[in-house]
Amino acid sequence: MIVDTTDPFRLASAILLVVVMIPLAAICWRLIVGPTVVDRAVALDMLTGIAVAIAALVVSATGRREFLDVAFGSALISFVGIVALSSFIVRKGRGGK
């Protein structure tokens, strides 16, 4: 078993990982329903915050430090992605090609 359930603090982190699935489901709902492109971009932005929180909780639930690097990397990639997406939205909103 990856999570050591005899340690109460690790177990608490594992329970928090299950709780984080609620915002993840809410954000995925917003990502699917929309209704506009900008709403989906906002949901994608929020999804990265949740991904960072999940990666950090995996570190404390399993004790594997590598997942903190995953959190850092996903924060990095999301920033570049949101900047590119908002520049695309501005260009399309002005009627450009």
Binding site: F9, L16, V42, L68, L85
Partner: protein
């Protein structure tokens, strides 16, 4: 023991902020209000969870990468939120939750139709 409990409090607080941010994204009326929930509460939530992990692990490598991640989140999420908010306004998204006057009227050039209508018109023009 006390540090472990402090770490748990930080993690529970962070997860609570993330849940509230997602609730805001789900329930608010227009993209700018949803952004208001996601950028601020989402940053604090993720930052608090990482701070809890730092307090729990107490090793140099986790502290270094964790602090770098928190610093990076605090530096980039306001910039990404600003760019996305500006793109939202300029692209003519509907402002259903707006109370009072539009303070950016005449300051920023705003598209009269929404992005979806512009994309539809674009696809009709080029069959």
């Amino acid at each position: 023991m006390i540090l472990e409990i402090l770490a748990l409090i930080l993690k529970v607080g962070g997860v609570a902020f993330v849940v509230l941010a997602a609730l805001g994204v789900l329930r608010f009326a227009d993209p700018l209000q949803r952004m208001h929930a996601s950028t601020k509460a989402g940053t604090v939530g993720a930052g608090l969870v990482i701070a809890g992990v730092i307090v729990e692990m107490r090793t140099p490598d986790v502290t270094l990468v964790g602090l770098a991640t928190i610093l990076f989140l605090l530096l980039t999420i306001p910039i990404a939120g600003h760019l996305l908010g500006r793109a939202t306004y300029v692209s003519g998204a509907r402002l259903d939750g707006l109370r009072g006057v539009d303070a950016l009227q005449g300051v920023l050039e705003r598209n009269p139709i929404t992005l979806e209508e512009a994309l539809d018109a674009d696809s009709e023009r080029r069959p």
